[in-house]
Symmetry: C2
Subunit: 129 residues, 2 copies
Amino acid sequence: MTEPPFELEPIGEVRTPFETSDEAPRQGLEGEEPTHGEIVLAPAFEPGLEGIEDGETVDVLWIADEADRSVLRVRDGERGVFSTRSPHRPNPICVTTCRVRAVDGRRLAVSGVDMLDGSPVVDLKAPLE
Amino acid sequence: MTEPPFELEPIGEVRTPFETSDEAPRQGLEGEEPTHGEIVLAPAFEPGLEGIEDGETVDVLWIADEADRSVLRVRDGERGVFSTRSPHRPNPICVTTCRVRAVDGRRLAVSGVDMLDGSPVVDLKAPLE
């Protein structure tokens, strides 16, 4: 991990109702109706979930694996991509805050999903206090 | 970008006063005194900064390139790493919210840094509104 490019290995994936980007909301927890989904970790990473409790929020880092990584300007060229949260960006790591509804082994039922179904998850973090 | 492992190419680096992890604060903007630093992008990525204004906050995604990626439990094994913000984790991508003090070409003067000096930056995002 000391020299670029840095390799990310998914820790799991997220299951959501959204098959296309038109269906996915901008940010799941901000919408009028909570969106429900499930984060499923690979078995090796289950010990990392210890201490995550129902009702807490968790920051989900995931890869927009269909992103166009050549994009630097958006909105007809008026805005630089780094002043937005567009998934199309040089390193398409997205951050979504979800609320944990239940923990069952290596599965987290969550609300607030805005990812496409099957998106690779690379990290989960406690939110900043 | 469609198959793992996913490769991240740094867009730049961050310059901070912190040479060791003991010196770095937990989260820069939360501390009593603001910490000052500079994000310097590679020339190719400068167009992506268009629209970032002084005084705004920006989420900085950076790599803890000295992290131990084998860590799944922390605090003497009591907590799973995914319920914390420890930099030692399988995919050591860290997220720090900084405040922009000035933009000068491909350089952003910022406060709120908590990174080690020279850490690779992989993304900048507008904060969630």
